[in-house]
Amino acid sequence: MLTIGYHTLQNLDNVDEIENSGPIKCTTKAAWLGHGYYFWDYNIHWAHNFGRSRYVDSYMIFEAEIVINQETYDLYGNVRHKMEFKELWDELKENGHFEIGEEITVPKLIEYLKRNVGFPYSSIRAADTPDRESRISFGGQRSEYMILNERVQICLITKKNLSLQSFRVIYPDF
């Protein structure tokens, strides 16, 4: 499957440099899926939201084609991956030698697998539940609902699934 990803950066008047060199790797504490190149999946709204909140009006958005395939650990759309990830978590919690107060989080588990076990994927896709989300209720007496517009991100561990030829700035309009 091919999707469009959006990558937001601070506008440092270096658009040509970024277009030539490609996305910037995130290694800050915000890297919630571990270190990698982060893109919002298809919905440019999240890319603008981040740019406005982080950089006020001084930001750039780049788009690129990204392949979602068997090399993608898909914690958004693959039920098997979700089930496996929970079991990996349980396994580490049960058989790791943790000290009181230590906590396993999503990025810690992913980085542990990458650095010590061997993580056989080149990208990870996952979603979170942002401040205000939209649900479609089934209505009537039923409690079920369907969530729309999840904030989905793709973290590229390597650029293998990224089409560098398609990587280009789309905001602002230079």
């Binding site: 982060y38 990996l88 401040d131 209505g139 969530i147």
Partner: protein, 81 residues
Amino acid sequence: MNTPLLQKLREHLASISKEQFRKEWTEIESLGLEGPNYEEFIQSLTASIKVTDIQILNIESPFNLELVNVQAGESSYANAA
């Protein structure tokens, strides 16, 4: 469930000493990464987040759909760039 990745993790954990694990985990902790913990992760899988406002859509629908705005609390992480 038994997958190659799960098996590799089991084998790795079984093959190392407590000291070796502590060394590995200290390296992970030193990265200072922030992300969902277990409860938040499970919450995101089940989407059991708090409903704060319900708005009936003004549309004709055979399913009598409602648009529901919900507050996700602190489980908000997909903001890396």
